[in-house]
Amino acid sequence: MVHVYNCHPFASQQIVQVEQEPGLLCSGGGVIFVVATGGCKVEAYSLDQEGCPLLCRFATMGTPRIIQYSAIGDYLVTIEDKNNATYLRAYTNWRYQAEEKSRVGVRMLGHLLRGASQRSVAQMEIIEIPLSERPVAVACCPVTGDLLVACEKTLVLFTLRRESQHNLNQLNPQSSFQNTQPSHSKKAVPNSPSNPNVSVLDFERSVILHIPGLGPQQVALCAGYVAVHAELEVLVVKLHSSLDPKTAEELADMNTCVDQGEDPGDFLVLQRHQELLGERARDCGVSVTIEKTGMEETGQYTLSFVLYRRFAPDFFQGCSVEETKLHSLQLHPMFTRNKSMQCPEEPSCVFCFFSLPTTGYLYSLRGGVELLSAYQYPEKVLRAVLTDDLLHVITKSALQCFSVRCAAVAARVEDPYIDTTMRACPPVSLKVCALRMQLFIGLRTMCALGRHVMLLSAADAEPPEEADRATHTRSFMEFREHSMLTDIFLALGIDPTTTPALESLLSRPFLSKKWAGSRPKAPSVTGHGWNLYVVNTVSPITLYHEMVEYSCRYAETHPMGESCRHLLSEAHLILRATLIKPLPTAKGEPRELPEMPTDGEKAQRPTTDAFTDSKAERQVMETAFRENCAQLGDCFSRGNQKDCHLALPYYRMSGLSITEVMSRNRPLPISPCSYGPGFVFYLNHFLLEETDQILSQEAADEIIDIFSQTEPSQLVTVCASPAMADVSPAKVLRRLQHLEQATGMSVPLTVTMATMSLRLDDLRRYTELMEKHAEMLLVYGFIEEPRLLLHGGSGGRDTQVRPTQLANQLRKDQPGLLAAAMVALHENNKVQLEQADQVFKELGCEHNLLVDFWEAVLVASTKEAIIQELLFRLAVVYIDRLTSGMAAPSKLLKSTEDLINSCSHYGTLYPWLRILTPASNTGSQQQEALQKLQSLLCGPSMPIGAVQPLLEQLSLGATLWGLSLHVLCATRRGQHGNCIEKLLDHCPQAIIPYANHHLQETYMALWWQKLLPELCNRTRAETENGILLAALKETLLVVATEISPVEFLELMPDDGTALYFLPHLLACSQRQLLA
């Protein structure tokens, strides 16, 4: 069932002053073209001027059967007959034919001549396009101006070419629709009115599609899409042109689709309904083969199938093929603002419309073909025309206007955020409706352009389909004649029923001819039986306002009714369709009519563009759009559970503040219904979002009331929102106590209550509440609701975070809990490292608690990047503490020992470090820092390369702790020899523990290669140095066990002190013997 709203989309009607009965009609470029029935003249009337004055009149060469206008190129193409032959012709420069007496040039396709336009006066020119077959139908691409011609067995594509006088001999080989930016080449041609004849149109036959057996009746072409329909079949394919030529066989293979069906000649094949989408349409049984005819450089065309649909006449319901015939095939492009800035030649959407007498079908082709809407007409439709905003159809007695979903598709192409919580748009599947039925008498045909609908009505002639109605009329008239005559006879005193002769006389309709001849004609201005009307549709904003008005009326009677929402959605799409269109400045070029010859004709620009052009109008539209979003928001916020989430995006798009939304949703005192689920959903989202907006106490308190009524369990989350900072804490506490009584205790609830107590400066109660739960549980509570501690973190990595009042209190009372909570939040990805830094800085504890936090994160984290970052940061902090001597003001949470025990990054301190830097050497705070740094250097994770430059700033050997760090680093780098020297220089007592610890395995040889010679040299210099001697002795003990006697011998000094070594040589030899 189609919903019919009695809107008024039609504003006014004009009658075009046509002298002879129009037979053919088409429109475009601000012009309506009329060919009188059987005539050989085209009359062009201006649509943009009041009264539709005649622009010009030009003769055709034969009798046109079909006319079609292309705005791109400003040409009219005709299929015309003359002396039983059929011709295809394109009429260009027709605007120069203002007075009929100018000579008209005629040439064959492609026959351009250098001197052809040397004449100073521009001239109308007819291009005759020869075809090997009889043309049946034509179509022009609204994007490129290319021409598609359907013959009985083929479809021929002609690309539109603009040849400037300079490049007539070097033809541009690129077809306009494969060229991504043809507007550039267009722009290259100077278009000044002083030299109007600078470019000449021509066509190039670029590709032929062979479709034997389909029997095309109508075609359409748009941006490479080719649609064709036969009596009961529709096929849409897409032509792709690729510049790299493939082998012919490959292509032939790809592009052919052979009919495998049986020969229907011998059987009565009952065709069934069929719909094949996308490449599946290849199986439709219609053979399509490509034959390339264009110039070599145009590359290859390939073909993909888009859509196939077949209908079957319903013989059982008495429908014949005649009554089921398809008509009104149309491919409709839609350009949108953002996409057209990226590539102005590509329409964002392409729609395909076609119609049966009783049903119309609208498909969206780009980005996956899909059926958008099926239009069930209330009566047989003769013709239908799709525009961006509306679908117009005519029956024999009415013009009807249906809503369309094109804007809903285009909006989604344009804005990927539609169908998220950010933005919304009525769905593509929203049921279409009829907006208006406007009665007319004897409608024949129709065309539409922008906001104009052109209608041809002819009341006094009888087209075949009206025959039966006429028969009824006649019999009615006969009846009237009969009774009239009977009355006359009776008046004369004769009863005709008694006289057979009179009876038979009366049964003859002898007067009916006369009746038929003088049948009352339809009232018309010009007095003849036909009229050509131009019906103007109202502006989108007017239609919008009317729909809103209607919806209000529906809302009064059925506040929850679907109709109100549906009308508002329709109104939304009406506005969208206009707002989404490209700005005329951004996109003038491709839609622009070429070569406006005179100033007077600049008025030909479509007025719809001029309308949206105006900034004020646009502001009005945008205001209306926001208002509509607010109303849709209201609809969804009050509506039932289904789709209630849409309240959020619509309210967002409306630009209403939360307080405004709240006031719109306040239930009336008498109303039984409370807050709708959509509204609560909206509030929830608003409060979860990080906004800078802090609600007034009044508003915040109202929110608490709303949630207490609708979703008390959400109160904790609600209170945690930064927007609720000014809520009255006493009130919240009361509510939370109720909640606790009802649902039992929970950590977030308790902590929220504690926060409220804190706001009331009730520290006693705060402490009581905080002590209700173990610290570990509190940490879990903070993970559950981080906003108890931090505000502003949820917006992602780079957003600013602030500590809450509670966090500040924790810093004072329970710094360990705060650090632990922060670590937990960090590890659960609730807060980033930088954000945590920021929090601690804001809390004024970047020198202590922040470092504790880093240490704790280092212990807990498993992420390598975080670990490396923290190792470096901590090294810097420790060095800083060591050098500046600045001690942490409060107690550190974790000692070196704690850290060594809890993670591997802190290594156990090497034994020689205790000798080098005994505990008493530095202050206790510095000692802690030194030990942590040493421990890090003892661990495996610390990157030495990163920390080395920092250590180099410390003066070597100035302090033993400095030496310890240098030696640690050098050791990590494998520079043991260097370390040995330094230790012997500054702290020889540590040398043996160092050697024992580090001179192992690969470094074992250093015992005798480095340490032994060093000790020998040093003891020789200081013979009384007991420390060195002891070390030498230890060294010799090790050496004796590790090397062979021969090697030992070679080590022996030859300065007469060999005696000292002998016992060790002996031990070495004995060990060797044992082995």
Binding site: G39, C40, A59, M61, K101, R103, V104, M108, H111
Partner: protein
């Protein structure tokens, strides 16, 4: 009773410079321009007229006479209802070429029965003092080639121009098989003058 309008295609052929364009201009717009450009390719003009009760739209096709434009003009011979073979009386070569023009026309127009096809011969520029072709020779040629009507015209001073075109129309209409060429347009009532805008508005 109703009248019907026919669209009659009449084509002007003849050597370059014999005055085909001038004849057409004189007939349709009643103007004469001594400095007309060469016609390039093919051009046409329409003229509505009433002949013996028939509303006729005469579509006069002017062609480029120069040889180099042959490929541009010949495709449009097809569908002609009458051919006006034109020469200039001050140019004997243009007269001698008439046979070739006729042959070219018959060939490209694909005329089924050339002997029955209505040709009309025009000897133009009779205003010029020094004639090279006598009226006698012209009449003789017409007689020998199919008994074509011959008109001596001057586009410059409008001599015989309308007569020649009207003869062409009459020739076409007089042919018996004309009915299938008649293209019905709007019914024209007798009391109403054609091409008068006031009666319909």
């Amino acid at each position: 009773m109703s009248a019907k309008t026919s669209l009659l295609k009449v084509i002007l052929l003849g050597d370059g410079g014999v005055g085909k364009s001038s004849l057409m201009n004189r007939y349709v717009t009643n103007k004469f321009d001594t400095h007309l450009f060469h016609t390039i390719g093919v051009e046409f003009l329409n003229k509505d007229l009433e002949v013996d009760g028939h509303m006729v739209t005469l579509q006069i096709w002017d062609t480029a006479g120069q040889e180099r434009f042959r490929s541009l003009r010949t495709p449009f011979y097809r569908g002609s209802d009458c051919c006006l073979l034109t020469f200039s009386v001050d140019d004997s070569q243009s007269f001698l070429n008439m046979g070739n023009w006729k042959k070219e026309f018959v060939y490209y127009a694909d005329v089924k029965e050339p002997e029955k096809f209505p040709f009309v011969v025009l000897g133009n520029k009779v205003d010029v003092a020094e004639r090279q072709v006598s009226a006698e020779d012209a009449r003789q040629w017409c007689l020998e080639n199919g008994n074509y009507p011959y008109y001596e015209t001057s586009a410059k001073d409008a001599t015989n121009v309308a007569g020649a075109f009207e003869e062409a129309v009459r020739r076409v209409l007089s042919m018996e098989e004309r009915t299938d060429h008649l293209i019905p347009t709007d019914t024209v009532s007798l009391h109403r003058k054609p091409r008068s805008a006031s009666c319909c508005s």
